[in-house]
Subunit: 455 residues, 2 copies
């Protein structure tokens, strides 16, 4: 074993103590009451990185919470890895459901319980401990490293894209490395190579100019709630395919190889369904559950409203009915184009008796990273060394907007080497992170740098 | 002209003054803050009726606001008319939109502005002034009269049905006379012979056991909001006929004669639509607007909810979606049966992926009164004498639950001889009542009693 890996192994307890020190700082980014704690978290992290010998560390002020940026660039002729992470955390509410205080990290059964233990302080710190391991034994890390650790991930990263846009040269790199996702399962390591995008719109139909008495007017007035229901119903056909014209135009079909991989994944639809109280899945056409939630586009109503929603009976014939509707997108669907197609669809179907208000609320691009990218292969090799088994390459159904931003603004692919588990209760009470995974993540970060340089 | 009619004519100003005195008392039944005013209103009315010589007057305590009950039964061998009305009023809010204070009755252009001017103090007092006119000139009214004037009409009449049920003998009569509806138009008198009933239900679908992240789960989880939309859409066919099995089974078809009457009514659909901001009506099959809103059953969504309804985008795949749905019913549809048919419809269509919660919230029977009933003919003759033209017999789209209750509990038909106008702003700021209609209503009540006795 190399001296670096040995150092990491021998200093496991100290590495845990360092993480605990950071977890004690309640860096809740959404709540202004915690602003000074968030700032303190950034300072702690910068001091810590400086303390372990990182060449250049700065705390960058933004309009929101600070960004910790660091560089360690010992090589002229080797690739540069931009490590992204975040030191801010979700609010701890509801606090009463925690078994131990969210900001008093507690160890139990080799697991660390605290807000941010997994998301993302624990996973982000793995890379800090990796560079520390090199420097502590008098070696340079085998690749150039840049760290971009933000404090606003849990509130939508408003300052990040502006920072990236105004620091393109500074952030120049060969690849982005992010540990902020989950592995497939405990001891089933995986690397995410695809993320879905998002097109999120709002529609509102207006019929009569005011709410009407359903007795006096009912029978001759087209009801916007009934009509909106019809319009929503017509968005899917009987095979649960989306009927919006041109919706699937730019969808890259799953390859046979991808479908075989999906089929081979240790994914049990029954368990997955059982956990959310269902016995049956509904997917588009003949796609499997895992394919449908990871690699196929969707259309879901996220919100619906009309008329009277209180207790009891009110005989109103409503003037308005509205819905929030969003589509998860896959490469190469474009969020703006899809929103426009949705708009055209609704405009075509709105009856003469009503007016339509359409808003494009939010969008994000889907992401697909070539698994043959040298950094992807390096990550796969690193993980195989650590876990003793090859990782699965998987696609995730959610969106990580920053990954699309790195591609769009810096032209960089991201390696999503996550060590979380879906059961880690991120965003929920009793968030935790297995300390075994923390150690494995540090080892994987070290080995990734070795492999990537070798590639 | 008879002495009675002459008295009514000569005392018009005094009759208006008496109405004003009652209108000054803010008998708002929904707001507990006005409880003592409501009680004062009942006392005023009872004192007033006693003062004009009505034989027996009582203020009946209930669990809510008092009922004023009176009897004047001079004849052994003549029919008895039970006059129903209410002395309570709607809240005056929004008070700032009134041009004159709602409880300081104000005369302008021979019109009286005050909360309750039309609904129902003005119309109810017409019958009090009618009996006064007989008694004042030393005559007995030509029929036996009972008065049932409640103080809870604007809050759902909770005490009325129990009172009727426990006083069936006392309330024995030949017909009920009610002035609490509108004429077709100014100088277009009408008598309402049909009212629609109501079946009001609530449905809620539950899919997954909690709100889910649409990125992680979207694509394989049946979305209750999408599904409820489909179920609602399927409640109507392309001709806007209701698809619920057996829905039309007990509908008495409109007769040719009725359809001819509907066609002859001075009803302008364009004006009716324009007033609510629409240019086009949608009706079931080939029914006209007036037929569809008066004499055909309907199904309307009254409320709709699911997921996230706030500002912006939240990517929730909702666990639940619900709707309030009601049907206006026509004879001989039964509200319980229709609710059961709706339940069966939803139960048949709910997919295996969801559970359905169904609540029957509220119901009311439709009403159809034989226009050849002697009291209906007496009312028509009375109105013809007063207005110089025959009234139209019309059906109204709304429900007056008490009319169905009188039929159900006492076996009595009701004559709906209303003198309001849809433009009287009942339930709105600046409620008013034309004093010319007040005088005509008093004359019509007097003539009705003469005609009915003669029949």
């Amino acid at each position: 074993m190399s001296a670096v890996l040995e150092y990491a192994k021998d200093n496991h307890d100290a590495f845990v103590s360092d993480l605990i020190a950071l977890l004690r700082i309640p860096t809740v980014s959404t709540d202004p009451a915690y602003a000074s704690d968030v700032a303190r978290g950034a300072e702690w992290l910068a001091d810590h990185m400086q303390g372990i010998g990182v060449d250049h560390v700065e705390v960058v002020r933004t309009e929101g919470h600070p960004i910790v940026y660091a560089e360690h660039l010992p090589h002229d002729d080797r690739p540069t890895v931009l490590i992204y992470g975040h030191y801010d955390v979700q609010p701890p509410d509801p606090v009463e459901l925690w078994d131990s205080p969210p900001f008093e990290p507690t160890q139990k059964n080799n697991t660390l319980y605290a807000r941010g233990a997994c998301d993302d302080k624990g996973q982000m710190m793995m890379h800090v401990k990796a560079i520390e391991s090199f420097l502590a034994v008098g070696e340079q890390p085998p690749v150039n490293l840049k760290f971009l650790i933000e404090g606003e991930e849990e509130c939508g990263s408003p300052s990040l894209a502006p920072f990236i846009e105004s620091h393109r040269d500074k952030l120049e790199a060969d690849v982005v490395l992010i540990s902020d996702t989950a592995m497939f399962a405990e001891d089933v390591p995986s690397i995410t190579y695809g993320l879905r995008g998002l097109a999120y719109v709002e529609v509102e139909l207006t019929g009569p100019n005011r709410d009407l008495h359903s007795g006096i007017y009912g029978g001759a007035v087209h009801n916007p709630a009934n009509t909106l229901s019809r319009m929503i119903a017509d968005l899917h056909d009987e095979d649960h395919r989306i009927t919006v014209k041109g919706f699937y135009d730019n969808v890259i079909p799953l390859t046979e190889e991808e479908r075989e991989t999906f089929a081979s994944l240790p994914f049990k639809p029954e368990e997955w369904l059982g956990e959310i109280g269902l016995s049956e899945a509904i997917t588009e056409g003949d796609y499997s559950v895992k394919e449908a939630i990871s690699a196929r586009p969707t259309l879901d109503v996220n919100g619906l409203w009309s008329g009277y929603q209180g207790e009891g009976a009110k005989t109103v014939l409503p003037s308005k009915a509205g819905a929030k509707i969003s589509c998860r997108l896959v490469p190469d669907q474009d969020p703006i184009e899809i929103a426009e197609k949705l708009k055209a669809h609704f405009e075509t179907h709105v009856p003469d008796t009503m007016t339509l208000q359409f808003k494009n609320l939010h969008g994000g691009h889907p992401v697909l990273i070539d698994t043959s990218h040298p950094a992807m292969q390096a990550a796969a090799d690193a993980i195989e060394s650590v876990f003793g088994k090859e990782p699965y390459f998987t696609r995730e159904g959610g969106s990580i907007p920053i990954v699309a931003d790195f591609k769009r603004l810096l032209g960089l692919d991201s390696v999503l080497m996550g060590f979380g588990l879906n059961s880690d209760a991120i965003h929920s009470p009793n968030e935790h992170f297995g300390l075994d995974r923390y150690a494995k993540g540090i080892e994987a970060s070290i080995r990734f740098q070795m492999e990537y340089n070798g590639a």
